[in-house]
Each structure stands twice: as C-alpha cells, then as structure tokens.
C-alpha cells in the first residue's frame, strides 16, 4: 500500500479548464482576451500537474475525494493520482498548451466560424480528460469518460456540414453505443461481483472473487470494447470518421486525449480491475489475457495495412493511430511489468509523436489547402520546417532512436520477449516495418521529388508562426524525452495492483 497524501491539486488541475469555459463564453467578443483565457487555463493546468510530480516521485499517491459516496451506489467520486495517471495528465496538459497556440493560429488562418464554441468545448474536453487521468475508481473513470464523449461531439461536428454530420453521427454512435452496450453492463457486473467496491487503491477490484475463465474473458472483452475510444477493431471506424474535425481537434483529441483516454481505461482495467491469476486462467488453447493480445495484434497489423492504402494524410494518420493504440493494449495485456511500463510510456511517446504529425498535416492544409499525400510531392522544398518536424514525428511513431518512441517500444518489446510469447514479438517487429512503410516514403517524396512539382514556384510559404512553432516544440520534445526519460520511467513502475 502506497502512502497517500490528501491534496486539492488534482481538483484544481481538473477545474481550471472548467472555470475557463464560462469565461470564454462571457468574453466571446474580446477575441484576444478569450484566447488569453485559454492560454492562462492551459498554463495553470500544466502548473498544477507539474506541482504534483515531486510528490509522486517520492513514491506517494495523491488522493482527493470529491463526493463521499454517490448516493445509492456508495461509491465515492474520487481522485487518486498515481504514476500512470500522472504520465497521462502530464502529456495531456502539456500538449494542451501547444495545441492552444496551434489552434489559435489554425482557426484564425482559416477564419473559422463559432470559435467561441470551439474553445469552450475544447476546455471542457480537457477537463474530462484530466478527470479520467486522475480517476480513483471505476465509476469516476466512467463518468469522465462519458463526459468526454459528449463534450467532443460539438468539436467533431464543428463544420456543421453534411460530412461533419455523418462523421459526428458515426463518432457518437460508436462511442456511446459501445459504452452503453458493453461498458455499463461490465461496470454493473463488476460492481455486483465485487460487492460495491470499485476503488483502484489496494488490490485489484476482482481479486478476491471467484471469476471463471469464461466469465473473465467476457468481462474483459466487454471492457475492452466498451471503452471503444481505444479504437480496437472491430470498433475502430469512429476514428477515421472523426477526422472531419478541424485539425487542432484531430491533433489533440484524436491523437492524445480521446484515444489515449480509451487505452488508459483499458490499462486500468487490465492492471487494477482484474488480478493476474484471473487473467492467467486458461480457456483451453489460450489464456484469458491472450485473447485480448490477439485482438490487439490483429488490430495492429490490419490497421497498418489499411494505413498503407490511404492517400488522405489525416486518414492515414488515423489508421496509424489505431495501430499504435493497440500496441499499448498489447503491452498491458501481456501481463508483464516491463511491457506494461512500455505501454504507459507509449501513451506519452505516441502522443507527442502523433500530435506532431497531425499538426504538420494541419499546417500543410493551412498553407496550401492540400489534404492528399499524392499532392504533397515536393512540398518539403517550400515547407522544410514542417516536413522536418514530420520526419521526427514519424521516427518517434515508428520507434527509431533518437526519439522517445524508441524507449517505449523497447520496453514493450523486452516485456514480450521475457514472457516468451514470440508471436507477439513478431507482430511488433512486423508492424514496425509497416510503420516505416507508410510513414517514411511521403517524407522522402516531399524532400526528393522525382521530377518537377507544383511546389517549384515561390508562391507557397510556411504556415503562420502560430502553426509552425507548436510542431517545432513537439518534435523537439520527441528527441528531448529520448535523452531524459527517467522521470517518466520511474513514474510507471509497478503498475499491476496485484500479482
């Protein structure tokens, strides 16, 4: 049992973006002030999160109870910050600052409508994201999870045109549908099975229950599909659909917040709802956890193959995201400390890398209006900073040194090796090769086109600085974290609640 410290810091971290929402709405006419509020909230949030880091590095956890026992369920609404949550919170809150900067540039550059609503819901989504990160029990987790689904819908459908409508419809129907159909029953079943204790503190929730192998596997899959923000196949198609959103939304939410919330929930389930003995029960040919591993592996390979065929840059990145998310699930489902650590690190690594890629896509769109890879041949000549950042981001996503992606993938790889599951090792290697295949050729073509391109004339320049600066920052971050990963690594030790 870790020592716990009572502190209101997590609440403030979560609240400061919530407080920003009414302020943004009130000052909707003062554009500058409104954006300052966004930045202020972002910095404040990051500050609060950072302030908690030393406590966690001391090996303590921070708890803070919001409501003493939801009426009727006797489950508290509770924040409990541990290493895993901290990593996620750090990623989300730091990247919000960057994305805010980027968002301002993007929205101004394209003269978008309804910017107030955009920033307001953006802040609301961040509040929900941190809520998930800090959630101290399954109920709190679920509540913020649903809040995030609803708060992001106006962002996805921001354009309010037909395409946005369809995308938004897919988005909500997948997220809400799976959560109603799978997550709620799984939640209630867990609640009944565990006798009303849903807390993440202490031993795993279902540790002392007599779950049979089959009921475990059904429950596990219900959770994994119920948190369909994790994008595991066959419930993945909301993610490409949601790419109709403006790029800042895709960047932060669909590379960082939303999808990572999904995998974060799955990690929580694997590490803290089930105990290892339950998950290692045999179903015959497979163990319970291996079922999840196989689903994840399938998703990794299939989505990478699909990504190869996509010409729309954002869609290619979306399918890449689906694959990378399943890395994280696979890392957790291997039930090995190092692999799980790798999974947690990959949350951060993939977030930083993928947000860079998305912001590059957005910057290209702002500068040239191009969406398709086939139109981007030779673009590196005119937009070297953007494409350079794209290259570094790709390296990180693929997992090549000297980027942070290498660190996380290395951990997963090591974990898989030491469990002796060589099938999954092969999956990891194969998919890395596929990653290279779908990410690096565009970069190559952008810099070294074979023949003249439309980018030969001088008309096209880099996007505005507000767009370029963030992607420079994040790509730098990819490299910096490779050299200084120790804090993050020490935060993600010992994820499994019980062995």
């Amino acid at each position: 049992m870790q020592e716990s410290v009572n502190s209101l810091l997590p609440v403030w971290a979560c609240l400061c973006s919530l407080i920003a929402v009414p302020l943004i709405v009130i000052f909707r006419k003062e554009i500058l002030l409104r954006e300052m509020i966004t930045f202020g909230a972002a910095f404040a949030k990051f500050g609060f999160v950072l302030a908690m880091v030393p406590i966690l590095l001391d090996g303590k956890v921070i708890t803070c109870s919001l409501i003493e026992g939801v009426s009727g369920l006797n489950v508290p609404i509770l924040f409990r910050v541990d290493g895993l949550g901290m990593v996620f919170a750090l990623v989300a809150s730091s990247l919000w600052i960057v994305t805010s900067l980027y968002g301002v540039g993007y929205m101004r550059g394209l003269k978008e409508h309804s910017q107030t609503r955009f920033f307001a819901f953006f802040a609301l989504s961040l509040c929900a994201t941190l809520g998930v990160a800090f959630a101290g029990n399954l109920l709190t987790l679920y509540l913020f999870y649903e809040m995030l689904s609803l708060a992001t819908w106006p962002l996805v459908t921001h354009h309010q045109d037909k395409e946005a409508r369809t995308g938004g419809r897919t988005y909500l129907s997948y997220l809400l549908g799976t959560s109603i159909a799978f997550a709620i029953p799984a939640l209630i079943f867990t609640f009944i099975k565990s006798g009303g204790d849903l807390s993440f503190a202490g031993p795993a929730i279902l540790a002392s229950t007599d779950m049979t192998a089959w009921s475990s596997v059904i429950l596990l899959m219900a959770f994994a599909f119920g948190f369909s923000k994790a994008g595991m196949m066959p419930f993945h198609s909301w993610l490409p659909g949601a790419m109709v959103a403006p790029t800042p939304v895709s960047a932060l939410l669909h590379a960082v917040a939303v999808v990572k919330v999904g995998v974060f929930c799955v990690i929580r389930v694997v590490t803290q709802v089930f105990d290892m003995t339950t998950l290692r029960q045999s179903l015959g040919a497979l163990n319970v956890n291996e079922v999840l591993c196989w689903f994840a592996s399938f998703t990794i390979i299939a989505s990478s193959l699909i990504a190869l065929t996509q010409d729309n840059l954002k869609r290619r990145l979306a399918f890449s995201t689906i694959g990378q998310l399943s890395y994280i699930i696979l890392g957790a489902a291997l039930l090995h400390d190092v692999a799980a650590q790798g999974a947690a690190l990959h949350i951060a690594a993939h977030a930083v890398g993928k947000i860079t890629l998305f912001m590059c896509a957005g910057a290209i769109f702002v500068a040239t209006g191009k969406k398709y890879l086939s139109q981007m041949v030779g673009i590196g000549r005119r937009m070297p900073i953007t494409m350079g950042a794209f290259f570094i981001g790709s390296m990180s996503v693929i997992g090549l040194p000297p980027t942070f992606g290498f660190v996380s993938k290395w951990h997963i790889f090591l974990g898989a090796l030491s469990t002796g599951q060589f099938v999954f090792v092969i999956v990891l290697i194969a998919s890395s090769i596929l990653n290279i295949a779908y990410l690096l050729p565009p970069v190559w073509k952008a810099f070294f086109p074979s023949g003249p391109t439309e980018f030969d004339d001088e008309g096209i320049k880099e996007a505005p600085w507000t767009c370029v600066a963030p992607l420079v920052i994040t790509s730098t971050l990819c490299i910096v974290l490779f050299f200084f990963p120790n804090e993050l690594i020490s935060l993600t030790k010992n994820l499994f609640a019980s062995k």
Binding site: S71, K111, H113, Q115, L150, Q160, S173, I180, A181
Partner: protein, 527 residues
C-alpha cells in the same frame, strides 16, 4: 390534524373542483387560484405523510371510523410503498398546472373551468388510487381517473384524437372491468375486499379450502393483472395509448402521460405485494420467466416502434410503452434481494419526471414553433436555448446518462436482472438505451444543425464570433424566441428534479427499500 392527512390529500382537489363548479363557471379568474391552492394542499399533505411514514410508520386511516373487523369500512393506508408515489403525483400535477396557464381554453374559453374541474378530479382519482387499501374502492377511483382522462383527451383534440379517445374508452372499460372481475373472484374466494384482509386469508395455512392454491385465485390474479396491464399499456395491450396521447391537447398529454401509466404500475406492484404477496406471486405461481420475457418484448417493440416515428409526441408515446416494459419486467424479476422491484419503484418516480419533462418540451415546441415532427426542430438549440436544456436533460435521462435518474433506475433494474439471472432483460434494457440514444441524438443533431446542412465546408463564412448568438443568415427569422415562463418553469423544474432524483438516488432508494426491510410492511396489519 396529522392523522387526517390521507383524507386531506384526496379531499382538497375534490373541494377545489366543486368550488370551480360553483363559482369558476361564472368567473373564470377563480379557476387558477383554486387549482393551485388545492393542489398545494395535497402536495403539502403528501410530503407531510411521507415524513410521518418514514419517521413514525405506516399511516392507517379508517374512513367512517370503521376499524374492526378489518374490511367493513374503507381502509386508507400510506406506507413506504406509496408515500413517494403520492409525492411524485403531487409534484407532477403542480408543475402541469403551471404549464396550463394560458394554454387551457385557447380554442374555447368557455370550457376553461370544465377543464380544471376534470383536471382536479383526475388528481382526486390518482391520489385516491394510490392511497386506498380497498380493492373495490380502487376500482371506483380507477374509474374516476379514467373518465376524466377520456374527457381530457377528447376535449379539444382533432379528428384522430376523438377516435383515439373512443378506443381509449373501450380499452379502458375492458381493463377496469377485468380488474373488477378479478376482484370479484377474489371476493368469492376470500370474502374480503380489504387488501390486507385478502392477503391474510390467502396466507391462511390451515383453511380447508386452501384459497391460495385454488384455480379461482389464479384466475383472479390473471384478470387483475391483465386489467391493470391494459390500463398501463403493457406490450400487447398498448394499442390505445399512442394515438390517444399524441393527438390530445398538450396540457392533457402532459398530465396523463407521466401519471396514468405510472400509477397503474404502482397498482400492479401494490396488488403483487400487498394482496397476493411476493411469495405467492413468485413461488407459487412462478410466472416470473414468462412476464419478464413479455417485458423484454415490450421494451424491444416499444423502442423499435419509437424509432419508426416521425412525430415527436408519438415517438415519446412509444417510449412510454418501452418504459412500461422496464417497470413491469423489473417488478417481476423475482431476485432474492428485491433489487428489481426497487428498480421498478424507483423508475416509477424517475419515469414520471422524465416523461413529464419530455412531454412539456413537446408541448412547448408545438406551440412556439408549430413543431409536431422531429424534422421541425431544426436549429432549436439556437432558437430556444432554455427549452433545449429541458430537452437535453430529459433525453439524457431517457438514455440513462449519469447523474440523471434514468441511469440509476437502469442500474437498479440491471442489478436485479443480474441477480435474478434474467440476462435477456439486461440485453433488452441495453438495447433500449441504445435505441434511445439513437433517437435523441438524431433529435439533437437536427436541433443543433441549422436549417440546411451547408454544402461542404464554407470558408467564406463571416467569421464574426457571435454566430452562436445570431443564428446563421436565413435562419434568423426566429419565431418568438423563447417560451413564456409559465411553460419554462415546469420544464426546468422537472429537469432539475430529474437530476436531483439521480444525485440523491441512494436516499430515495433507501426509503423505497423500507418496504422490503420490514416484513410487517409487506402484509400490513397481519403478519
């Protein structure tokens, strides 16, 4: 004073109706104050009764002082089972009477006092049904509420509404007659009309006739049950409901839709618990499986039919059919800890408020926007933001999003279903939630987007920031903006209660479960 509460709850609206009959017909200004005062008295008395019940214990009231032997007079009883239902009825009728201001008598002002007389008599009926502990008195009061509801539906409705009202009369009469017949069979077997009295005789082990096991008792139960099912529009018997509630004036549908079906569900649960006893119903009869399957079909059919509707009110009506399935199924789950029954009772309260909220919404948009079909709601979020709040909360509760009460009622029902081993019911609940989600997000989508979906992403749009406030170009010909406060207040109040009921569900459920904690409550005076 406190011991007269059961009589006061029923009598206040009765006297109100008579006062309107005497004076309101001559001067219409009398009507509203009288309605408010009498309903306020009832509501206050209900709350006081609930307090008394949970602090002291069951309130028994013997009209005419005929206490012993039990059953010679009429016995009114307020216990843990019905005190909350009383309060909810009080709240709903109070809110709807706000809503009725300036709506009643739009077509024909002459009829305003008659509407209010019928309205108050309906309240008398509903309160009376809930309070009484006499099987035959229940029939009379069912008829009071039915007759008034026939009239409330038929008065001022359009052509189809009149036909629907006629069908309702026929079905309602058959339902009440079946109930009466069932009571007759029971009386024949037990010689008593008092619910507790009947139960005591049914439970009598030593009697030579063995009343509990006789065929006539089973038939009695079936007829009572089917009669009540017709009244509550349970699945195969729901035919009268959708048209009747769709084509009647919105004030009438706002009072009838939340209360009539819910009170019938209460009657069913009362009959199951107090008259026959859960042991008899679940163990001796053992039809739990059958009824739960019926409920599953009801839920699925209601949801699917709702999905097929284009009219707002009709869609809501089919949702009522599905919700009735929730409650009947929940009551019949027969799980050992009575979580299903708890869920059903909680859902009576929750669904009354949810239905009220959504029907109020439908009434408001029908009047302000002339919107009867779902597609008429385009751009609603901009045109009527406050009304939209009501819609959103009501809809989220229907879908079952925490912290609204809809989530918790589903939680208890699912809990009961899992513990009772009725997985099919769990599946049905989830599918219905999904369908509700589809339904209401379809509405949200229409309400959120403007009149026409723009062709692709239009960059030339004016990027002035306040497009939320101004509405998009052609859309700014907004009809009258927001509804009046007399309509908005009940809508927002019901929305607030939906959330409060959800947030404090533990307290509410603790009160509900008083019924099961103490076996004395189950059989009233005898055990």
């Amino acid at each position: 004073m406190i011991d007269q509460i059961p009589a006061i709850i029923v009598l206040a609206p009765l006297f109100g109706a008579m006062i309107i009959g005497l004076f309101g017909i001559r001067d219409h200004r009398v009507c509203l104050p009288v309605v408010f005062i009498s309903l306020l008295v009832s509501l206050g008395a209900s709350v006081a009764a609930a307090q008394q019940v949970f602090n002291v214990g069951t309130i028994n009231y013997f009209v005419g002082g005929w206490e012993k032997p039990l059953g010679i007079g009429i016995h009114l009883k307020i216990d843990a089972l019905n005190s909350l239902v009383l309060v909810v009825i009080g709240v709903v009728v109070m809110l709807v009477s706000f809503f009725s201001i300036r709506r009643v008598g739009e077509r024909d002002t002459e009829k305003t006092p008659y509407f209010y007389i019928l309205y108050l008599l309906l309240c008398v009926g509903l309160f009376g049904i809930t309070i009484t502990s006499d099987a035959f008195n229940l029939f009379v009061l069912i008829e009071v509420s039915s007759l008034t509801s026939y009239a409330l539906i038929a008065m001022g409705s359009n052509k189809r509404g009149t036909v629907a009202a006629f069908n309702y009369v026929i079905m309602g009469t058959v339902g009440a007659s079946f109930y009466l017949l069932g009571v007759g069979y029971l009386y024949l077997k037990t010689g008593s009309l008092n619910m507790d009295g009947i139960h005591a005789i049914l439970m009598l082990e030593t009697n030579d006739a063995n009343v509990g096991a006789s065929k006539a008792t089973t038939v009695a139960f079936i007829f009572i049950l089917v009669g009540i099912w017709i009244k509550m529009a349970f699945f195969p018997l729901y035919g009268w409901l959708p048209n009747a509630y769709t084509y009647c004036p919105s004030t009438s549908s706002c009072i009838l839709a939340p209360l009539m079906t819910k009170v019938s569900v209460y009657v069913m649960i009362r009959v199951m618990i107090t008259v026959f006893g859960l042991d008899w119903v679940f163990v001796e009869l053992g039809w739990s499986q059958l009824v739960v399957w019926l409920a599953v079909i009801a839920i699925l059919a209601g949801s699917m039919l709702a999905l097929a509707q284009r009219e707002i009110k009709k869609m809501l009506c089919y949702l009522i059919v599905a919700e009735v399935g929730y409650m009947v199924g929940g009551a019949w789950l027969a799980d050992p800890d009575h979580w299903g029954m708890t869920g059903a009772l909680y859902h009576i309260l929750a669904d009354a408020m949810m239905t009220l909220c959504l029907f109020l919404f439908a009434g408001i948009v029908a009047k302000r926007l002339g919107a009867f079909e779902i597609s008429d709601l385009q751009g609603l979020f901009k045109k009527m933001p406050i009304t939209s709040i009501g819609l959103v909360i009501g809809a989220l509760a229907m879908i079952g999003v925490p912290p609204t009460c809809g989530f918790f009622s589903k939680f208890y029902l699912i809990r009961g279903a899992i513990e009772g081993g009725h997985w099919e019911f769990v599946a049905a609940l989830l599918i219905s939630s999904l369908v509700n989600a589809v339904l209401f997000f379809r509405i949200f989508e229409i309400a959120y987007f403007g009149n026409k979906p723009a062709e692709g992403h239009d960059h030339s749009h004016d990027h002035s920031d306040d497009s939320i406030e101004e509405g998009k170009g052609s859309d700014s010909t907004v009809l009258g903006r927001e509804a009046s406060w007399s309509s908005l207040f009940p809508l927002l109040a019901s929305a607030a209660i939906i959330i409060l009921l959800g947030v404090f569900n533990g307290e509410v459920v603790a009160l509900i479960r008083v019924t099961f904690e103490n076996s004395n409550h189950l059989s009233g005076l005898f055990r």
